[in-house]
């Protein structure tokens, strides 16, 4: 009977506090994750919105190609109408 009481005492004084302590820490850790996840969700949504202009890159690409083509044509004309520097070699 004495051993039984000792077991009860150990259960109440040692095991129960340890179980509560561990469970409480798990709960606190889980609670601390929630705000971080919500912040990440907000940032991900904002980042996705920031990339909405990415579709315009296709037009930028087209304009860059057109511009370079125009510059190339202009350069070709300059190449025809201007003398080369070889003429003024010292």
């Amino acid at each position: 009977m004495i051993l039984w009481w000792i077991g009860d005492a150990v259960l109440l004084v040692v095991v129960v506090p340890i179980v509560v302590y561990l469970l409480r820490n798990v709960l606190n850790a889980a609670k601390s994750i929630v705000p971080s996840v919500q912040a990440i969700a907000t940032v991900a949504a904002a980042g996705s919105k920031d990339l909405d202009a990415g579709a315009l890159l296709i037009r930028t690409q087209e304009q860059a190609i057109e511009t370079i083509a125009g510059v190339a044509n202009y350069g070709g004309s300059l190449d025809v109408i201007l003398d080369d520097a070889d003429l003024v070699e010292a």
């Binding site: 509560v20 709960l27 889980a30 990339l51 930028t60 520097a85 003024v88």
Partner: protein, 206 residues
């Protein structure tokens, strides 16, 4: 007769302790489950946002690479044209005149150009300026009289532009003198005139 539920007090305390542990387990584990549900909901939003980011940024790499390739080709062509027409030294001087200090970097396709001391084309009219003159009225040096005809004949541009050069240029010589070099370290130094900076000998008439 012994009661059915009769038990020792120590056993009752044991049962109470176990019930306490079970109650604590239930309370905390349910709380953890609720928090995990919230985390799952948040991660669903995150995954949706990240998915959109991945989808929207997927073509960026190819587009930017294509743009860079075309820009590289344009830079190569313009550098080559500038060096071909103006010569490597004057080309470096022209670029340095527009963007001071850029001559130190040199041209991308002409690694030796970084070693060239750029002539001060921004201060002295040289072949570069005369070349601009050939382009027509837009060049300041070509606009001799805004009311007069355009110096460049658009129908025979090359011949008209050639006439802007000195007479000896018309004979198509094999070589011409290079542009003058000025500055403290120029090969030919000139004495400073004494009257520069001195009081005027005679005031201008009004």
């Amino acid at each position: 007769m012994t009661p059915v539920l009769a038990f020792a007090p120590a056993a009752g305390v044991m049962i109470l302790a176990v019930l306490l542990i079970v109650a604590a387990l239930v309370f905390y584990l349910v709380s953890v489950i609720v928090q995990l549900w919230k985390i799952t909901e948040g991660l669903d939003v995150v995954i949706a946002g990240v998915g959109e980011i991945v989808a929207k940024s997927a073509p960026v790499n190819d587009i930017v690479t294509t743009i860079n390739q075309h820009l590289d080709a344009g830079v190569d062509a313009l550098e080559g044209l500038l060096v071909k027409k103006a010569g490597i030294e004057d080309a470096v001087g022209l670029v340095d005149g527009m963007y001071p200090g850029s001559a130190a970097a040199g041209f991308r396709n002409f690694p030796d150009s970084a070693q060239i001391t750029p002539p001060r084309i921004g201060e002295v009219y040289t072949q570069g300026t005369l070349t601009l003159a050939r382009l027509g009225r837009e060049a300041p040096i070509a606009a001799a009289n805004p009311a007069g005809p355009v110096l460049r004949n658009v129908e025979a541009g090359s011949l008209a532009a050639r006439l802007l050069y000195p007479d000896r240029r018309q004979k198509r010589p094999k070589s011409l003198a290079r542009s003058p070099v000025i500055g403290a370290d120029s090969p030919e130094q000139y004495e400073q005139r004494d009257d520069i900076g001195a009081p005027r000998k005679r005031m201008p008439t009004r």
